[in-house]
């Protein structure tokens, strides 16, 4: 038994968590960008 499945499992989970967090940061940024554009229109 070389235990590759455990290694792949652990590394996959770690990267999924990191990418999900980065995706959430990206979503927050997009939402804020839309809000800024909306406020710019409102202030004109």
């Amino acid at each position: 038994m070389m235990n590759y499945e455990y290694m792949f499992g652990a590394y996959s989970v770690a990267w999924v968590v990191i990418f999900v967090y980065m995706f959430i940061i990206g979503r927050r940024h997009d939402k804020l960008k839309k809000e800024i554009e909306f406020l710019k229109q409102l202030d004109k």
């Binding site: 455990y6 652990a10 800024i36 554009e37």
Partner: protein, 253 residues
Amino acid sequence: MSMNLERENAALPESQLTGTRGIHVSKILFGATVISMLVSFYFIFIYAAEEKTMHAAQKIFYFHVSSAWLAFMAFFVTFVFSILFLIKRKRIYDMYAYVSAEIGVVFTIIVLTTGPIWARSAWNTWWVWEPRLITTLILFFIYVAYIMIRQMDGVWDKKARLAAVFGIIGFADVPIVFFAIRWWQTKFHPIVFGNGPSQQGGGMEDSMLVALLLTITAFTILYAYLLYKGVSFEKMRIKVEQYKEKLREKMEQ
């Protein structure tokens, strides 16, 4: 600057997350993260020797320990900036404390998920109620509570003060997590460096130590990148909030 003055001077930020200099810093940190991660991958999977009993599963160790390192460092930064915030009451300190705690929670999740995968391969069980695992779980819940305080309704400085106290007291669990296997009896969690009451640290082979140190370096750069991104975003969010307040007041007049 007072809150009212801040609001009066509030201007809408550009929709780019940071200025030109900020974009450069962000790009440099991102590039450094990618390069250092690739280097650490080479050292983990090709350079480092394979452990004789656990084989490939031992390689979980590099990411698991580096995630724990990052989480501890993130909570330490929260601790330091919480103290600074309580002394100086500057919002920027609160931003650093909050963003760092959030990153710490993310990497504690990695510790708490990769750990059981390691446990399954090494101990033939997913979870054991032993000191290191219990104290890590408590650490996770402490900082989840910290983030929940930040999500509550209310005036920001009240929330920030409460969270700062929480961030300072909560940090007490970090050394407990680290020393848990050295203070208390544990048959399961291995001690690599130093000795505990029930086992002695076996140390590491040189190639493994190099791989571990490089992975820790890569994770530290990743932390710097995430912290920079997070704080830039928070600065921008606060500017938008202040601008909205200013606009609301203008419309009400």
